[in-house]
Symmetry: C2
Subunit: 335 residues, 2 copies
């Protein structure tokens, strides 16, 4: 029996999760919700993905030639689990509906941690999500920090981690919003990312600060981490090379900027030019006294996609975390 | 017998042409040249594409673990035709070598028109390139102007065309060069694009002006065209809908900016998120008195790729232009 999945909210994350669900042998994409007519919905319909209309949108979608398979309620009647990728705070609203219907749901990092039973990064705490009704995949930035800090913590123990997050202003297709030619400080100390990492890794001391830069491609993090035990640069490179969903970027291949990291993703043939792995430059790793420094680039549009797939399996009771991660990685072309 | 193709210069255009050659049933990619070690070469080698080293680079490539199949000369010994996608002016240098070896070559629009026997846009003058030794695929901008102006000229006759080109500053992976936060005028009147269109369409009166804007995604052209006969907006939309390698963008699908056009290309699943078709917004087409106005977006990285494929067939004596265009389009997922 395949897991029946619905995707609620068909934007940046929703469309990618839907594509990823279609690649899983153990899942069936029942359909996606459409809020209004646009090219994303038009392409989905052309590809044979079933479109379920949210309240009052059926007529407008049909007027544009979209065949509507049913309502939001109809979708919920026919799924085991939904991935809710609606805009911030809408997920918490929708939760009431999922509760009433007894449907499991995966929320995104835009929601508060309290929306779900557990905040989730597959390689860190898969088993905590087993059989839960509600799981929250943490944000792109929190996912990135968790992947690398967790790996370091498992290997050497992390005494404390500090990170400066240089956040992208908007996603690539946005034409408005965010600074155009300035850098914006955020006066939230710590930025919400540090506490958010601790929803997944409660025992790691993390403090983050964040600023926003005029770029759309990727976030970039600069970290300094005190380890419990000594490590050498080469050992850190080896660790990250062997950490799932982390990619070590060889600088001698002339991949320097985030623009070049994204060009690498395009050349690899990844759909939409996505880079789901957190990218750590090999020459950006250094150790000074007892502190480890490194830089990582985060593709905000796609790094949480594999987490959503693993979260689906976890809430449905699939117990083997490693096996789920392996299945997801293989389907998405990750090492 | 498949056509044996070599790609000389493995950058923005070269890597795309190589991928396109691999998709043709009637062509064999013998290999590509590498100038230095980088991620493009590393990925090509991983994919089993044969790498031929330019002078003095063999050792450096091999030191990085690249298996080198031979020299530039070795590549030329084994091909019927090369696509030369080296930087501007290098093609003219290489021409001497191709002449000495008796190898056919397709040059790019960065070279002067005099480098080749004919300047080429498949749908406008395919047959002019038949059996020629040297053909020049015109630049991305000239290709775009030629596609739409030629279609209008065939249907209604073009009395004269005027175009303002707003050029992208650099390609997406570039991290230096071009204006960052200013718009640069070009004091070349006409800009070289107008005369360049006339190397393909000698009988059409075209005058262009060009400026450079701080964007990396696409060029944009704003055109005004006087037609010999009256046309209605709906007829122009129909014409462009039925013109090969032109795509009419439905604004009611909320595709407004060039960023959204490129997002459409990503969602369509095109490799590298490429958009080889010239994109004309339906709501940007208007007629005022006897003048037609429209706007088109040009993906500078990819629109000339299908032209290179057709040019290969033309120089090799494949006579049926329509058939070649159809084969190329089908292989690349163009309508």
């Amino acid at each position: 029996m395949k897991i029946k999945v619905g995707v609620v909210g068909y934007g940046t994350i929703g469309k990618r999760v839907a594509d990823a669900v279609l690649l899983q042998d153990d899942m069936e994409l029942v359909g996606v919700t459409a809020h209004s007519y646009n090219y994303r919905v038009a392409i989905a319909a052309e590809r044979g993905i079933k479109i379920f209309a949210v309240d009052g949108e059926r007529e407008s979608l049909e007027a544009h030639g979209i065949s509507v398979a049913g309502s939001f309620d109809d979708l919920l009647e026919n799924v085991d689990v939904v991935v809710d990728a609606t805009p911030k705070k809408q997920g918490a609203e929708n939760k009431k509906i999922y509760e009433a219907k007894g449907v499991k749901a995966i929320f995104q990092g835009g929601e508060k941690a309290s929306v779900a039973d557990v905040s989730f990064v597959a390689q860190a705490n898969y088993s905590a999500a087993l059989n839960k009704q509600f799981v929250r995949v943490v944000s792109c930035n929190t996912t990135a920090l968790t992947r690398t800090i967790h790996a370091l913590d498992q290997k050497w123990g992390v005494k404390r981690a500090r990170a400066t997050l240089v956040r992208r202003a908007m996603d690539p297709a946005a034409s408005r919003g965010g600074p155009l030619n300035a850098i914006e400080p955020t006066f939230e100390l710590p930025s919400h990312h540090g506490p958010d990492v601790r929803t997944v890794l409660p025992n790691v001391e993390v403090f983050t600060t964040a600023i926003i830069a005029p770029t759309t491609l990727m976030h970039m993090h600069v970290l300094s981490v005190k380890l419990e035990k000594d490590a050498a640069v080469e050992e850190v490179i080896d660790l990250f090379r062997n950490t799932t969903r982390v990619r070590v970027i060889p600088v001698d291949q002339k991949i320097i900027t985030t623009a070049q990291v994204m060009e690498l993703a395009r050349d690899l043939g990844n759909k939409r030019g996505d880079m789901m792995e957190i990218c750590v430059w090999d020459k950006g790793i250094g150790i000074y006294d007892d502190e480890l420094f490194f830089m990582q680039a985060v593709h905000q549009e796609s790094d949480v996609v594999p987490e959503n797939i693993d979260a689906i399996r976890a809430v449905m009771g699939f117990e083997d975390a490693e096996k789920s991660i392996e299945m997801t990685n293989k389907s998405l072309g990750l090492k």
